[in-house]
Each structure stands twice: as structure tokens, then as C-alpha cells.
């Protein structure tokens, strides 16, 4: 087990395309860090550079106190789980798991013991004699994890390991991965484009976009205190609502957010100081769908009524998503399933402005 440091790392491909633009990241011993972001954001490239599968154009990668820029993958003492499992098709499950140990000339008894231990943890003991083609997707992914575990490496690397599984199995395997990390707390770097996977698994989440790190933080940090509009929009499902607005004087000497002629809502007093500097400026109001819900007579401080015409209603069982358009921008509210909402009708809603975010439209910075 080890610490991993990525320092000013750049990856430039032939033709000058920069996939990673000088990122810095320190991962503590035993930590489970998830790199998340849209396709092409550089997360997989970063993982592959840590693995040694991609050369680094500039910067340094440290594993367990050593610079490993020029160390080949086999000498980095890492194990990797791939998206398409990458099991050796001609070998049995046992041989797949034992392959790395055999190459490192481990004694046979030790190999057997380690494979048996890993198989027990992953519940694949009955599968040890089977070939990969005789396994389901979930079983293959377990074998791939088993192959990583037996080596007892310093760092586990996961490259979108659940992307090939169906939705139900993905949830199940997510829990398995978390359980494995609780049992064997090896430093882990996990890449995914699925923000729910990132939130549920990570000690810390690294949100990447366009080859740079947008924000690093605990899942709760990112959710409640996003640093940029990108992070605010990427983390959370359904995504945060963004409405162009202007900060102006409100009633009682406070501030107000003017979204349209008919929607002018007061800024909670606790935020007034922070937002005062932006009075008169065009900004973007961010409000998560769960902070826009059915109207309550008993309003709390910071709650404001807004009436919006319903566009689409999506009942989900335990909640109902209602979609609207405000000044051309799509808005989603998460309402109680007993709330009556029909397309074309006006639905009274409560906006909890204690949870609002205000962003600069040009930089995307949350203020």
C-alpha cells in the first residue's frame, strides 16, 4: 500500500493534442479516489499514465515515494482492472488469477493460497476451473478483480470496470467493490464517467474536464459546494438547474435575484454579504431539482413561492420529476408523488434559496 502523487503531469499526443494539461493530485495511503468526468476529459489517460501504459510528456508520477516515470508497468507494483475485463481467454479462472504470481516465480503453495483467499473474498470459488467464456459479465469482472487482489499490489487501478454491465449488476458490483476495499484497504484510483459510481465509492472525487482538474473533494463537498458550474452540473442526477439572472436590490434593504419579469426572488440574508459585490451584474442561478419542490403553506426562512407552467411530468414511484421552461431554459423540480401536476397547468412550487448557487456566466466560477 502506498501514496500516489501526480505532479504537473502533461500528456500530449502526436499532432499537439493535449489530453492532460498539467494536473496535480495527491492520493493518500489506503485512499479510494475516483476520477470522474465526461468522455475525453483525460481521466483514463491519467490512470494509464499512473499504470505506466502511457508515456508522460511532462511532470512526475510518484508511487510510494519513488518517481516512476521511467519504470515499466510490471515494476510499479500496481494491479489494474479493465473495462472489458481483459481476461486471458485460453486460461481457466485459476490460471488467470495466478498468471502474475507465476511470472513472479511465487512458490506453488503460495499461489494456491492467495488465489483461494481472493476467490473466497469474491465468492468465485466454484468458478476456478472454468474458462472466461463460460462466465457471465459480473463473474468475469470478479475474476478480473481477483487477478488484481492476489498480487497484493501497492495500488489498485480501475478503468471504468462496471461500464459493460447492465444497470442492476452495476449497482451490485459497486457494493462488492466497496466491500473489497473495506476488507483490503489498498490505495485505489478508479475511473468512471458515472457520477453516481463516483459519489458512492469515493473517499474523494476528482472531477476532470478538458484535461484539467475542476475540483477535488469528498462526495458531499462536491455536491453541496461545487467550485464551478461544470462540477455543479456534472455531479447530481437530474442535473442542477441553471437560470440566467441578475442581482438587484430587493425589499427590506436586501438583495433579490431577478430571473424574469415575473420571477424575482429574495436572496436569503445569510448570503447577502457574499453576493453584494455582484449587484447589477448578469449571473447564473443554480438550484438543484430537490430544492425546487411542491408548494408548502408553512414556509421556512429562505423559501419562496414560484408558479410555473408544467411541460412534462415523469412519475418515478418514490418521487415525481416535473419539467418546465423558464425564459427558454429547462428547469426540473423533484416533487412529492402525490402532487397533482399535468402538462399545461400552472404548478405552485417552493424554491429553497438557502441552497442556491450563484455563478459567473463567463468563468463558470461559483461565487
Amino acid at each position: 500500500m502506498a501514496e500516489v502523487s501526480v505532479r504537473k503531469v502533461v500528456k500530449e499526443y502526436d499532432g499537439g493534442v493535449q489530453a492532460v494539461k498539467g494536473i496535480d493530485l495527491d492520493i493518500a495511503d489506503h485512499e479510494f479516489v475516483v476520477l470522474v468526468g465526461p468522455s475525453g476529459c483525460g481521466k483514463s489517460t491519467t490512470l494509464r499514465m499512473i499504470a505506466g501504459l502511457e508515456e508522460i510528456t511532462a511532470g512526475e508520477i510518484w508511487i510510494d515515494g519513488d518517481v516512476v516515470n521511467d519504470v515499466p508497468p510490471r515494476d510499479r507494483d500496481i494491479a489494474m482492472v479493465f473495462q472489458n475485463y481483459a481476461l486471458y481467454p485460453h486460461m481457466s479462472v485459476f490460471d488467470n488469477m495466478a498468471f502474475g504470481l507465476k511470472l513472479r516465480k511465487f512458490p506453488k503453495d503460495e499461489i494456491k493460497r492467495r488465489v483461494a483467499d481472493a476467490a473466497r473474498i469474491l465468492d468465485i470459488v466454484p468458478l476456478l476451473d472454468r474458462k472466461p467464456r463460460a462466465l457471465s459479465g459480473g463473474q468475469r469482472q470478479r475474476v478480473a478483480m481477483g487477478r488484481a487482489i492476489v498480487r497484493n499490489p501497492k495500488v489498485f487501478l480501475f478503468d471504468e470496470p462496471l461500464s459493460n454491465l447492465d444497470a442492476k449488476l452495476r449497482v451490485q458490483m459497486r457494493t462488492e467493490i466497496k466491500k473489497v476495499h473495506q476488507t483490503i484497504p489498498t490505495t485505489t484510483v478508479y475511473v468512471t464517467h458515472d457520477q453516481i459510481e463516483a459519489m458512492t465509492l469515493a473517499d474523494r472525487v476528482v472531477v476532470m474536464n478538458g484535461g484539467v482538474i475542476e475540483q477535488v473533494g469528498t462526495p458531499n463537498d462536491l455536491y453541496h459546494h461545487p467550485a464551478t458550474r461544470f462540477v455543479a452540473g456534472f455531479i447530481g442526477s437530474p442535473a442542477m438547474n441553471f437560470l440566467p439572472c441578475r442581482i438587484q436590490d430587493g425589499s427590506n434593504g436586501g438583495l433579490a435575484v431577478r430571473v424574469s419579469d415575473s420571477i424575482i426572488v429574495p436572496v436569503p440574508p445569510a448570503r447577502a454579504n457574499r453576493y453584494g459585490a455582484f449587484k447589477g451584474k448578469d449571473m447564473v442561478l443554480g438550484l438543484r431539482p430537490e430544492h425546487l419542490f411542491e408548494y408548502h403553506e408553512m414556509a421556512k426562512p429562505g423559501w419562496t413561492r414560484i408558479d410555473l407552467p408544467v411541460d412534462v411530468v415523469e412519475p418515478m414511484g418514490m418521487e415525481t420529476m416535473v419539467h418546465f421552461f423558464v425564459e427558454g431554459a429547462p428547469v426540473c423540480a423533484r416533487v412529492d408523488p402525490t402532487t397533482h401536476a399535468a402538462p399545461g397547468e400552472v404548478l405552485p412550487l417552493t424554491a429553497d434559496l438557502n441552497q442556491m448557487h450563484l455563478m459567473e456566466p463567463d468563468t463558470g466560477r461559483v461565487v
Partner: protein, 298 residues
């Protein structure tokens, strides 16, 4: 009203089903006719060879009755060849040359294909295309310059020269087959092996060769066919009986001036065809799988 609509739907569905059935019937008839033409074209010559090989020289020269039938079948032609020392020598020479050609060609092809498809060095793409282009040069253009090389090596009229020459015919195509096969193996497999601690040779030996076995078998059959059936090079480079291989040995020994010993020639052809037939019969599935690999992923 609704019953009428339902009836019409059933009628439309039935008509569509019948029309599909008719289309399939036509396709089947077309296939049978085309296949029958091919079967006749390809099986008539071997059938005629077999019939003639079972006839005595007297029956062949008598020219009585249908030439497609045997009236007094005999194995005398086969027995003659089996006990004929020169024929045994040709067979042995062909076997030695073929086994060594296949071995040399496969070692070179597998290593070359692995390097070209997986090691990603500068110019590997161009080299891959170059390898295939060399296959397009007809052997009949090459045998004159090759004659000079073989002459300088002192291997004219020595069947060992074929072990050097045949790989020039087999290696390009075998390499091309293997490049296609190796390219169809997901790259994550090499990366997993690299992380597991394998070097490039271990990766080749323990992962690529077992996974690419159908491709290797396809390439092996191709190299075998080239070496076993080649005619031009042995005709150009070998001229004494003790050095000859089957293809040239049969015609030089069994055609004397204008005397064609048809029965023995046909029997020799059949005996010479046995090894390829046996190999194809056992490995045909691998051959087809190997040649089509890389066409689609999965």
C-alpha cells in the same frame, strides 16, 4: 367491423410470410444450382484421376468403352510407386522441405506479425503494407535473381535451397494473416499481461500464440500448401533424381520423351495429394476461422 380488420391483418401477415417463404425458396434453388456447377467443376478432375489410376496401362491404351469407368480395377500403379525407390525419395524430400519451410515461415511470420501489430514502432504501418506488397510480386519474376543468389550459395541442384526459397513465398502472406489475427486481440490483453509482469516474449508465448492458434493454424496450412505444391522453383533449381521433390519428380520420371505413363502419373498425383487432404480435413474449421479473423470484431 373489428373482425374484418383482424381478418385483413391476418391475411396480410400470411401473404408476407408466403412471400418470404418464396424468396427463401428461390435463394435456395439458386444456391443449389451454383454449388452443383462448382462441385462438378472441382470434383470431376479428381474423379477422372482416380479412375485412370485404377486402370492398367493396357486398359488405358485400349480406349474401349467409357473413359470414365474402370472395367478391370487394379492397384498395380500404386504398388509400383510405393515400391519405387525414386518415388520414395521424392516423397521424403518433399516432406523434409515442407516441414522445414513451415517451421521457418511460421517462426518468422509470428515474430514479424507480433512486432508489426503490437510493438507500435515508427514505420510499423508502412512495413505492414510493404510485407503484403511483396506477396503481390509473382514468383516467376523472382526466380532469375534468386537463381543467382542460390548459385552463389552453392545450393543449385540441392533440395535445401527450397528451404531458403519457399519462405520467400510463404512468409509475406502468413505474416499478413497473423497481423490480422493479432490485431483482433484486444489491446487490453497485452496491457493486462504487461501489468501482470510479462515481458514482450512472454506475452507472445503465453498469451498471443495460444489465443491466436486458429490464425497460426491457418497460416501453417498456407505455408504447407505453398511448400508441398510449388512447381516452378524445384523445376528451375533441381535436376537430378536424388534431389527432386514430388511435383517435379513425378513428371520427370513418369514422362519419358513422348511416353506418358498415365496410370502411374495419376496414381502419383493421388498419393501426393494425400497429406494436404488429410491436413485440410482435420483443420478446415481453424483455417476458415483464421482467414476471416479481424474482418469483424468479437
Amino acid at each position: 367491423m373489428s373482425a374484418t380488420v383482424a381478418d385483413r391483418r391476418i391475411r396480410v401477415a400470411t401473404e408476407r410470410k408466403h412471400s418470404l417463404h418464396r424468396q427463401r425458396l428461390w435463394a435456395l434453388w439458386g444456391s443449389y444450382i451454383a454449388l452443383s456447377v462448382f462441385v462438378v467443376m472441382f470434383l470431376v478432375p479428381p474423379f477422372y484421376t482416380l479412375m485412370t489410376s485404377l486402370k492398367s496401362s493396357a486398359e488405358i491404351s485400349a480406349q474401349v468403352g467409357s473413359p470414365w469407368l474402370v472395367h478391370h480395377p487394379t492397384l498395380e500403379n500404386f504398388w509400383y510407386l510405393i515400391t519405387y525407390p525414386n518415388f520414395q525419395r521424392y516423397y521424403l524430400n518433399s516432406a523434409i522441405v515442407t516441414v522445414l519451410t513451415v517451421a521457418v515461415s511460421m517462426v518468422i511470420s509470428v515474430l514479424a506479425a507480433f512486432g508489426l501489430s503490437r510493438m507500435g514502432f515508427w514505420g510499423s504501418q508502412t512495413l505492414s503494407t510493404g510485407v503484403f506488397l511483396t506477396y503481390l510480386i509473382p514468383p516467376s519474376l523472382l526466380f532469375i535473381p534468386l537463381f543467382q543468389i542460390i548459385g552463389k550459395l552453392g545450393l543449385i541442384n540441392n533440395f535445401w535451397c527450397l528451404v531458403i526459397l519457399y519462405p520467400t513465398l510463404a512468409v509475406p502472406f502468413c505474416t499478413w494473416i497473423m497481423i490480422g489475427y493479432f490485431s483482433s486481440i484486444p489491446r487490453e490483453l497485452d496491457e493486462a499481461a504487461l501489468i501482470d509482469g510479462a515481458g514482450y516474449l512472454q506475452m507472445l508465448w503465453k498469451i498471443f500464440i495460444p489465443v491466436a492458434m486458429p490464425g497460426i493454424i491457418a497460416a501453417t496450412i498456407f505455408a504447407f500448401t505453398v511448400a508441398w505444391g510449388a512447381f516452378l522453383y524445384p523445376l528451375a533449381y533441381l535436376y537430378t533424381s536424388n534431389q527432386m521433390v514430388l511435383t517435379v519428380g513425378i513428371i520427370s520420371d513418369l514422362i519419358r520423351g513422348d511416353v506418358f505413363q498415365w496410370g502411374k502419373i495419376m496414381a502419383a498425383c493421388l498419393l501426393a495429394s494425400l497429406p494436404p487432404i488429410i491436413i485440410y480435413a482435420f483443420l478446415m474449421d481453424y483455417y476458415v476461422a483464421g482467414l476471416t479473423a479481424g474482418a469483424t470484431k468479437g
